[in-house]
């Protein structure tokens, strides 16, 4: 025989204040966990989604990031560019782009002292390979001019980098002639211009940073990876674009560790609080428990009933926590990408996984907090229960 759920709901409603406080305590714990998870989820999404499935990034062996890699124009032309298996552009040229990566500093809304951004110099192949780019405002830069285009995240987060503004880096000023958008989040944080112009500014001679290559198909991609990795004239690391960006998201790990650690400690605290509340509920209803037993409810139904009540508290808490975190969904923030010393903008994501994990977390807290008091209630002797209070 089951004790009806409405009995628990009414009791929770009668003890409104305690119910709200306990649920909210669980809610805050869930919120901390959910916030840190949505940060990492957003970061992962930003990086994971940033790679073309058939593109490879070539860097000097051991450099780990484009910024610390060097590839010269000569070795690009001689060793990489005309490899078989590289897809062809509309122009008939191989889809291989020699790129120059630097870091520049711009003041942003969040940090007026300036944040670092990735600045990329590309050649005509580079422009051609960026078919996913759409110019939301303005146009592409022209080669031979001190012009740049900026990603939509840059334009919105850095007031000085809007369309028509000039920004200072390298040896002088650059005119922002276009704002581009791309489905690849990590690339929205870049400032892109003519690589040859930038080489001069950064005194790089003919030393570029990395090469972006598009394979004809997956088989060709594997073959290219093998042959380029084995190339003796150049010691190269060959990574798929996806692998590369996923590695960059590792600086989010620390945040997730810290967030989880904090959430777990808070969870133990909330569990104790939930236990308190449930023990009080049991004590207060001691007589009722006796009466229910006399009416014929079994110990098991008493146990279940109190346990369910604690789970209802947990669900309320979980929902409260998620409601607290929900406004963060889609919030854009920046984080330093590992090893590139440049900022990548990304959006916090309260994904279904985040919501589910948080809810489960809340239920664990509720279960842990409710079990002992529920057992206590079920163990009560009828007569002692009736005599209590």
């Amino acid at each position: 025989m089951k004790i009806p759920l409405s009995y628990n709901l009414r009791n929770l409603a009668v003890r409104r204040t305690t119910t709200i406080m306990t649920a909210f305590g669980i809610g805050l714990t869930v919120a901390v966990l959910a916030a840190s998870m949505s940060l990492t989820a957003g970061l992962r999404e930003a990086f994971r989604a940033s790679g073309h499935p058939l593109q490879l990034i070539l860097m000097r062996e051991g450099s780990g990031a484009e910024l610390s890699s060097q590839v010269s124009r000569e070795s690009f032309n001689e060793v990489i560019r005309y490899r078989p298996g590289i897809a062809k552009l509309k122009s008939g040229e191989p889809a291989a782009s020699l790129e120059l990566v630097n870091t520049i500093n711009l003041p942003s809304k969040e940090s007026p002292d300036g944040m670092n951004l990735t600045n990329r110099g590309i050649l005509p192949e580079g422009v051609a390979m960026r078919e996913d780019f759409t110019m939301v405002r303005g146009r592409w830069f022209e080669f031979g001019k001190r012009e740049v285009v900026v990603g939509s995240d840059v334009a919105s987060r850095y007031p000085d980098a809007g369309l028509g503004r000039t920004i200072r880096f390298g040896r002088g000023e650059w005119l922002v002639v276009g704002v581009f958008d791309t489905p690849f989040p990590a690339r929205k944080s870049e400032v892109i211009g003519d690589a040859n112009q930038m080489l001069q500014d950064f005194q790089r001679g003919s030393l570029f940073s990395s090469v972006l290559v598009r394979a004809e198909d997956e088989v060709a991609m594997q073959a290219l990876t093998n042959s380029l990795s084995a190339e003796q004239r150049l010691q190269l690391d060959v990574l798929t674009e996806r692998e590369y960006y996923e590695r960059q998201s590792s600086s989010g790990n620390l945040i997730q560790y810290v967030g989880t650690f904090v959430a777990i400690i808070m969870a133990v605290g909330s569990m104790f609080a939930a236990m308190n509340t449930m023990y009080a509920a049991v004590a207060r209803r001691s007589k009722e428990i006796g009466t229910l037993r006399v009416l014929g409810f079994s110990r098991r139904s008493i146990l279940t009933s109190f346990f369910i009540e604690s789970m209802i508290l947990a669900v309320l808490g979980g929902v409260a926590g998620l409601l607290l975190v929900l406004p963060l969904n889609g919030l854009t923030t920046g984080i330093g990408a590992d090893a590139t010393f440049a900022e990548i903008a990304f959006q916090l994501r309260v994904t279904p996984e985040v919501a589910l994990t948080s809810m489960i977390f809340a239920l664990i807290v509720g279960a842990a907090g409710g079990l002992l008091p529920a057992f206590g209630a079920a163990r009560k002797q009828i007569l002692t229960a009736l005599r209590d209070m």
Partner: protein
């Protein structure tokens, strides 16, 4: 206060509840303590002695952008600058090319002839110092690093270049002790310059590290150096070495905001837990409030006794929590440091005072509503009250 015994006995009236509440508070306050200590260490600490006179000039954009070496002589001429050296972060790979914490340690090139003038607090035997300066491929390692990696004088250390495509073959010539940082490897900038020459690269400097004559001279130096190069090809940013170390934190995102929001959430949770307990505890005792009133206790005294109880619970929780927090701080010191500031992490007296103050305030805030309404209940209502 004559009512202290009563307050303490009341606080422990329901053992299980008090235990649960105090444990919950202790955990939260422990967390709050560590976070506050971290915040204080990162954003409100002052450099340890020996470091407060050191400044670092880097490219305004980032340390991966470089400056011409001739900046050094211009900086040396700035009033208040006692000594300046070129200091170049090298990075590279030791033993492995994986991201392996085990083999990760800072590797820096610096001008050996003046290095010890800029780091006067280092302790290193005179003969080791000279042996290092005399050997172009020599290096010195910090005592902590030597211990961690088992480096001894005479050991060969090979570092593969990454950012700089130069491979180093170094010999350990000395081991230095520093009161705040001794886990780095230093080698001669000349050796790196040779590598650049063989690559056909121009000479450049990653950072300049300088020693100021006095703390008063520091703001002037910062202004003068940055103004001097404001319109040059490589604009600079000069800051204290201490602040320079902190700038690496920026790559973790808005650390300040993250810390503050977690602290806020934790504090609010404490408030809820304590308020919930006190509400239950006061409710159970409304009848007793009536009895106390019959004995002649005024509303104010009863309010004081109830608030005192809540503050006592908060204080006990805070005491346990802060001890645990200090323990965690000591553990965190052992963790791989991101910034130097965490290596001496501790609950400073100021942090201690703030947290005790906060917990007292929380004690009052969590209890004031139920306590006030209980104290104001008329005697007869209180005596008749059933929960």
């Amino acid at each position: 206060m004559r009512f202290l015994p009563l307050i303490f006995k009341n606080a422990l009236r329901n053992r299980r509840r008090s235990f649960l509440t105090i444990s919950s508070l202790a955990l939260s306050i422990c967390l709050l303590g560590v976070l506050t200590a971290l915040y204080a260490a990162l954003f409100h600490s002052s450099p340890p002695p020996g470091q407060e006179l050191r400044l670092v000039t880097r490219h305004k954009v980032s340390i991966t952008n470089v400056m011409p070496t001739w900046y050094k002589e211009r900086i040396r001429a700035v009033p208040g600058v006692k000594e300046v050296i070129i200091w170049q972060w090298f990075g590279g790979w030791y033993k492995t090319e994986e991201r392996d914490r085990q083999y990760f340690f800072p590797r820096m090139a610096a001008e050996a002839d003046r290095l010890f003038a800029v780091y006067p607090e280092w302790e290193i035997p005179e003969d080791q110092k000279r042996a290092f300066q005399a050997d172009q491929t020599g290096c010195i390692v910090g005592a902590d690093l030597a211990k961690a990696q088992g480096f001894k004088i005479g050991d060969r250390i090979n570092i593969r270049g990454s950012f700089f495509p130069v491979n180093l073959e170094l010999t350990v010539r000395g081991i230095y002790h520093s009161p705040h940082e001794s886990d780095s490897l230093w080698f001669q900038f000349k050796y790196l310059e040779q590598g650049f020459e063989s690559l056909g690269w121009p000479n450049f400097a990653g950072t300049f590290t300088m020693l100021a004559e006095s703390p008063e001279a520091i703001p002037g130096i910062i202004r003068a150096v940055d103004a001097m190069f404001a319109n040059a090809e490589a604009p600079t940013k000069t800051e204290t070495e201490y602040a320079f170390g902190l700038s690496f934190l920026a790559f973790l995102g808005n650390v300040k905001m993250i810390l503050l929001s977690i602290c806020g959430a934790v504090t609010f949770t404490i408030l809820l837990v304590a308020a919930n307990t006190m509400a239950m505890s006061v409710r159970e005792r409304v009848r007793e409030v009536g009895v106390l009133k019959t004995l002649g206790f005024t509303q104010e005294k009863i309010l004081g006794i109830l608030l005192g109880e809540s503050m006592a619970i908060s204080l006990i929780g805070a005491g346990i929590g802060l001890v645990m927090a200090q323990g965690l701080c000591v553990m965190l010191r052992q963790a791989p440091p991101i910034v130097q500031q965490t290596k001496t992490l501790t609950i400073e007296p100021a942090v201690l005072a703030i947290l005790i103050g906060v917990s007292l305030l929380l004690g009052v805030a969590s209890c004031i509503v139920p306590a006030w309404s209980a104290a104001r209940t008329s005697i007869l209502d209180a005596l008749r009250f059933t929960d």
